[in-house]
């Protein structure tokens, strides 16, 4: 494996929990906090910590509103987040292809 390619991996996304959050958000326009928590089987605290990290990196936008008089938190990827995730997946694909010489992820 080319070590330079590994160095280029985005360290914010390259963590299992945050990668999972980014994957779900990349597949849909937005997700509620509870949907993310339940789908990923995370605790409230764990998910909040990861979302804060992603928010600070500018990858995730968190919106708060009300539904049935109760707070509703929804999360979505920002354009920067979508671009960073796409680059991250592209780099993983490149690493796999370099190592195995197989077909790419998107093919």
């Amino acid at each position: 494996m080319n070590p330079e390619t590994f160095q280029q991996l985005d360290k914010v996304i390259h963590e299992r929990g945050r990668m999972a959050i980014m994957s779900l958000l990349a597949a849909s326009s937005d997700h509620s906090f509870t949907d993310l928590r339940d789908t990923l089987s995370m605790t409230d605290g764990n998910l909040t910590t990861h979302l804060k990290t992603l928010q600070q990196a500018g990858y995730v936008a968190v919106a708060k509103s009300y539904r049935n008089s109760r707070p509703l938190t929804t999360c979505a990827l920002t354009p920067e987040g979508r671009k960073a995730f796409s680059e991250y997946v592209g780099l993983l694909d490149k690493i796999v292809r370099q190592a195995r010489g197989k077909k790419g992820f998107r093919e």
Binding site: H31, T34, D35, V96, A99
Partner: protein, 206 residues
């Protein structure tokens, strides 16, 4: 190999993205439609009084086809609205997971007619259909939201209860087979659809 983690990460990403797209695929409207169809079928079958084996099986096969068509149409409408491919790999996996149980249920139904089983076997057939459908939902539950698995278990347990204990519960034993069929299949789908409707995008925990 040192780079296995990259391939594994790609697989995790692919699985989560597929799950997220299926997750939103019109599950609540599909469940509500299946529930309404099941209940309507139960009432209609009861009113028509089609109680011999061939008519009973034929009637519910027709309703199963109708229910499948409704589910496909609703899923396709949602996919078009979200600009997603309809017959995507995860949709295919869900369909394939359900298929063996549906085929087995259908085969039992046909066998019941061709082998001339007595009229009393219909309640057992309903129980078997419930259990097979539950098994199919459990298999499909690996690719869809977790509630589907719970619904699968409920179908399985209800079917088992019906098969083993129906004669101990006079209300059930004397109930019209169409009402029993419509009430169990329709009622459970409707209940799950209502649950989904009220919990989708649920508010944060207090």
């Amino acid at each position: 190999m040192q780079t296995d983690w990259a391939g594994e990460n790609l697989q995790v990403i692919r699985t989560l993205m597929e799950r997220a797209s299926l997750y939103r695929r019109a599950l609540a409207p599909i469940m509500l439609a299946l529930g309404a169809l099941g209940l309507a079928g139960g009432v209609l079958g009861h009113l028509l009084d089609w109680n011999n084996n061939a008519r009973f099986v034929g009637f519910w096969f027709a309703f199963a086809v109708l229910a499948l068509a409704a589910a496909f149409l609703l899923a396709r409408r949602q996919a078009l609205k979200a600009e997603e491919p309809f017959w995507s790999p995860p949709t295919r996996r869900v369909a394939l997971a359900l298929l063996p149980a549906l085929v087995m249920g259908g085969t039992f139904g046909v066998a019941m007619i061709t082998q001339g089983a007595g009229d009393s076997v219909k309640t057992s057939l309903i129980a078997l259909w419930l259990m097979m459908y539950g098994t199919g939902l459990l298999a499909a539950g690996f690719f869809v939201r977790r509630g589907i698995k719970l619904l699968g278990w409920i179908f399985l347990i209800l079917g088992g209860f019906l098969l083993l204990f129906v004669h101990w519960v006079p209300v059930l034993a004397n109930l019209s087979v169409h009402l029993l069929m419509g009430g169990t299949f329709g009622g459970l789908h409707l209940a799950y659809g209502i649950y989904l409707r009220f919990t989708e995008a649920s508010p944060d925990p207090a």
